[in-house]
Symmetry: C3
Subunit: 147 residues, 3 copies
């Protein structure tokens, strides 16, 4: 069985936004509420997908914010803004860099759950990485699959 949810997350420009709690709530509800569509989902996977090509989803360390600052430093090194080699720059210096960062971070993460809880490790958080310099409304689809 499966269920599907839509979320919209507002970003404030380049940087990461933790969404672990939003996903945890969906998983908790799925395990506790009987719906007319069928029995509750106790164990399985949560697939989280972002419907854009200039931001990404990734799991990384959730304790020290300097980890995510250092990841931004490396993303800037791997896919620099305004690189002279880029042909695609209609939307500005961060346009192609954002697509390249999206390739590296990916557009979905999948996390197992059981008994209403995501099975994230102690130091793992789920993050939306905004790769554009300005903020955007970002649409996410969460699909739970299991038994």
């Amino acid at each position: 069985m499966s269920e599907q949810h839509r979320l919209t997350i507002a970003t404030r420009g380049r940087g990461s936004v933790e969404i672990s709690d939003r996903i945890s709530s969906i998983v908790k509800n799925a395990a506790t509420i009987e719906t007319t569509a069928g029995p509750r989902v106790n164990a399985g996977i949560a697939h989280i997908f972002i419907r854009h090509t200039s931001c990404g989803l990734a799991i990384t360390e959730n304790a020290d914010p300097s980890v995510r600052r250092d990841l931004e430093t490396l993303l800037q090194r791997w896919a620099p803004d305004a690189d002279a080699a880029y042909q695609h720059d209609q939307e500005g210096d961060d346009d192609m860099a954002a697509h390249a960062r999206s390739l590296l971070t990916g557009t979905s993460v999948t996390v197992p759950f059981a008994d209403g809880r995501l099975l994230l490790g102690t130091w793992q958080g789920i993050y939306l990485f905004e790769h554009r310099t300005h903020g955007h409304q970002r649409e996410i689809v969460v699909t739970l699959l299991g038994a």
Copy 2:
């Protein structure tokens, strides 16, 4: 419930081939055709897997081809052909570079669907990235899971 399909895609050497329509057709059929194996699959995820280590699958921008040309430029920078540091070069200058590009692009993508349609964003396309300089026959397994 689930269903599984095999595709073979012919590539023409390094570069990207859009496969969104191929996957969309499978999802559409699954939602409309009752099979003896069970009821139709209305909502869930499509998992797309490539059975090779020198090509990859990724979701990226589908409107301006210069995005994918710029991604090729960056992949060449990240994993150069014929790098002096490589030990593995039995199959030529692109051999190890192709494996390294495969690590960065990944071997599978997973996309949610509902009511017979992939829930891709407006500007998202699913691409097979051929990382070898010559064309190959590439095998893909598509698994639909849902309810």
Copy 3:
């Protein structure tokens, strides 16, 4: 239907450990043993998730060990130990480098299976990449989903 398993893998410091056989055994058992929880799982996907942010999971070439040595060379280039730009270094020179390598390799892989066998290509192996210089006990969650 689904089933979930936990594995612990001991690593010996930076480098890759093949776990394909461990995952294959789980898939084979799922296809052959009827359980009280329901019928056997014949076809679907195996989702493999690692509960840490300083190691990763990836599929790569399984024949020539020099491929994985060359990937280590590139990972060191992409995310150098002790980079002067890092703010996060509480656990040593490999601390931030390990988190950055984890972003690039990812924390999960998903592989289709049918009739009790993973549908890996001939040259594909599933690897745990330890990104820290010292060995660790690493926890993995394997979830099978299918019909």
